[in-house]
């Protein structure tokens, strides 16, 4: 019988750790590159004359990642890896959210915060926002609130709708960015280059889903809580003055893992997978259930589908 590792259970909000071998490989690779980078003079000049991420040459990107790993490792006192992993071919991610199941417990919100290294306070940044809706009004934002705080959820007469970046096929945010700091990747994820963003917040204004969050001050990320497995376009530590948002846990999904919110949800309301694979859970959802998208009239065509499983 296969031995299986301890699995997350309902009361345990901690996400499973990265596999040992992968971490060792990345650490070794990172160390080698860091050593190389240290020998190279003019690293500072490189920083200042950096190109947009999409225009970078592969060797420049590798050097950059190595520099960042060194910087973050020193800053947080642990071995931080920064991946530049590109999209997998033949993959187009989609997300499913079962509104008949969500009970508004917010475990997804905090699992995301831990996994993705958001600022904890001043400002408190949460990529997921759970809205409490009234059954009487349906999906009606004028009768919704994210600030519900009863003793127990779900509260009678209400249902819960978590919102996060919808990874639109026609993203209004990428259209308006003046410097091309945000774009849609081939696997469907809309990403941000935090080192290119000028913090104008056009994207935040343009997003219909309130998905984009701004670092109004230097982010407060306790070193002890920092998740050291990061991606350049995902959960690496950000700085003051740049925008961030859900990236479908790009550091996880691009190595085949479920996003943190999917794994923590105690009621199994969250589904994630490859739209191009007919056997994936998300395709099964679309085949069997009636899905809808949020603010459909805006024709953003999200890759985030809400459905009612019952």
């Amino acid at each position: 019988m296969n031995s299986h590792r301890r699995l997350p259970v309902l009361a345990d909000p901690v996400a499973p750790e990265a596999s040992e071998s992968r971490r060792r490989f990345l650490k070794a690779g990172g160390a080698a590159l860091a050593a190389l980078a240290a020998c190279k003079p003019g690293a500072v000049v490189e920083e200042l004359t950096r190109r947009n991420f999409k225009e970078m040459k592969p060797e420049d990107l590798r050097a950059l990642l190595a520099r960042l790993e060194k910087k973050y490792s020193e800053e947080y006192g642990k071995a931080v890896t920064v991946s530049g992993a590109g999209p997998m071919r033949g993959v187009n991610f989609a997300y499913g959210l079962d509104l008949s199941r969500c009970i508004g417990c917010r475990r997804c919100v905090y699992a995301c915060v831990k996994e993705n290294n958001q600022s904890r306070e001043h400002p408190q940044i949460q990529w997921i926002r759970v809205l409490q809706m009234e059954k009487e009004h349906g999906v009606d934002l004028a009768h919704s609130t994210p600030y519900y705080n009863p003793e127990l959820v779900p509260e009678p007469g209400h249902f819960y709708m978590p919102t996060q970046c919808q990874q639109c096929r026609y993203p209004p945010c990428t259209k308006v960015c003046p410097v091309k700091a945000t774009w849609k990747e081939p696997d469907g994820i809309v990403v941000i280059d935090y080192d290119w963003c000028i913090g104008c917040r056009c994207c935040t204004a343009a997003c219909p889903y309130g998905a984009r969050k701004f670092n109004w001050a230097e982010p407060k990320l306790p070193a002890a809580e920092m998740n050291p497995v990061t991606h350049y376009l995902g959960n690496r530590p950000r700085q003051k003055g740049v925008v961030e948002k859900c990236t479908f846990c790009i550091q996880r999904s691009r190595v085949g893992r479920y996003p943190a919110c999917v794994e923590i949800c105690p009621v199994g309301a969250r589904k994630f997978g490859n739209l191009l694979d007919p056997e994936s859970e998300i395709r099964q959802v679309m085949d069997r259930k009636r899905v809808f998208v949020f603010k459909q009239e805006l024709a953003t065509e999200p890759q985030f589908y809400y459905f009612y499983a019952t």
Partner: protein, 411 residues
């Protein structure tokens, strides 16, 4: 070299002046100091020193920017009669409009700079060094047209003034095409700024086709109001000759613009209140509040009242020609448009936010300080430019080797 003499002379001009002048410059410098103090805190802490948050992500700074783009565009209200219709009374003063545009643009660009999270990364928007998002980003367009308009106004104004300083006629082959180009540019800068808002489907309050026409109409009300008052001040303090007719013509053109401003507002209100869709919520927030959230309501009604009264004062020839009512109307329309196009545009666009939340934004002391500083900067730029320009226009600031028979700013 002539240019060096000119610059040296210009520096002399701005350094000499009476008590009033020096006092005024002192006030402006104090304002700038206040602004720098405020910005220093913001630079250190981040934009959290403002009251902007994810829910209301553009507010006081962007509101001021939007209003000031209108003021800058309004220079065209002088340019059209002067260069297209060759109307002499206007030709004499058109350069002042261009100087106002330059000052307004300085303020616009400053407001953008203080609103950015990472102003140190400004180069990212430049072609070559950066990666501007052509052609889809309206902000990239705005950066281009605003700077082009600034260059246009600067080059024409400097050229005309320098030539007049030297007692020479300005180069028509250069000035006329560039000035005529500035007319669609003026329309362009404000249309692009309107499109910046207009293109966001996420914000139904802004996502209305009438936004660009409204912007232009309100621009042509607000900018010239400043000019009307400034012309009268300049007449009194410098003895510069500005004909009454020039001022009244500006006021008359403003009256047409005010009519359109009110008409477009009426059209918007009809659409929102009559069709009564979910989008009414934003208009309601502005005019009647939602529940106990009514922060903008008094301002909205004041702005409307001010605009209507100003329109009537400017419409009726008797009150238009009466200096008291003219100036009263100018102040009222300026206040009205400042509210309507500043906070009265940006805040309702974001309240309620995209997820239905109402966050009532009010500027912090810090934001006021920075805004005061930028207005001080704009005021200083305009004051210094006028201090150089008016003596040239009057013929008292001349090159030592200028031709003897030089008229004031020959046309």
């Amino acid at each position: 070299m002539g240019m060096i003499d000119f610059l040296a002379g210009a520096v002399r001009q701005v350094r000499t002046g009476g008590k009033t002048y020096k006092g005024w410059v002192g006030i402006l410098l104090a304002m700038i100091a206040v602004g720098l103090a405020g910005y220093a805190k913001q630079w250190r802490l981040g934009l959290i020193a403002t009251n902007m948050r994810d829910q209301v992500t553009w507010a006081f700074y962007v509101g001021n920017f939007t209003f000031l783009v209108g003021v800058a565009a309004a220079a065209v209200l002088l340019v059209v009669p002067a260069y297209v219709y060759q109307w002499k009374p206007m030709k004499e003063v058109v350069v002042l409009g261009e100087l106002l545009a330059i000052s307004a643009l300085t303020m616009c660009l400053s407001f953008i700079l203080v609103d950015m999270g990472r102003p140190d990364r400004l180069t990212h928007i430049l072609p070559g060094l950066g990666s501007p998002n052509w052609p889809s980003s309206l902000l990239a367009w705005d950066a281009l047209v605003l700077n082009t308009y600034l260059v246009v106004n600067l080059s024409v104004a400097v050229h005309i003034l320098y030539k007049a300083y030297r007692g020479e006629a300005y180069a028509k082959w250069f000035v006329v095409p560039v000035v005529l180009f500035s007319i669609p540019m003026a329309v362009g800068i404000h249309t692009v700024t309107a499109f910046l808002y207009n293109g966001m489907a996420a914000r139904p309050f802004w996502n209305a086709s009438i936004l660009a026409p409204r912007f232009l109409a309100s621009a042509f009300c607000s900018g010239p109001a400043v000019m009307i008052i400034l012309f009268q001040i300049l007449r009194k303090t410098t003895g510069l000759e500005i004909k009454d007719e020039a001022i009244w013509k500006v006021a008359e053109l403003m009256a047409y613009a005010m009519f359109f401003n009110l008409f477009f507002l009426g059209a918007e209100l009809f659409k929102e209140y009559y069709s009564r869709t979910e989008h009414l919520l934003y208009t309601e927030y502005l005019w009647s509040g939602i529940g106990d959230k009514r922060a903008l309501v008094p301002y909205a009604w004041f702005a409307l009242g001010a605009s209507v009264v100003a329109f009537l004062l400017f419409l009726i020839p008797r009150t238009r020609r009466n200096w008291f009512t003219l100036n009263l109307g100018a102040v009222l329309i300026f206040a009205g448009v400042y509210i309507e196009k500043g906070m009265g545009l940006v805040i309702p666009g974001m309240t309620p936010d995209t997820l239905g939340e109402i966050y009532e934004y009010r500027p912090t002391v810090n934001e006021w300080m920075v805004a005061v500083g930028i207005f001080g900067l704009g005021g200083l730029v305009f004051t210094l430019l006028v201090k150089i320009a008016v003596p040239i226009m009057q013929g008292t600031f001349r090159a030592p080797d200028a031709a003897p028979e030089s008229a004031a700013v020959a046309h």
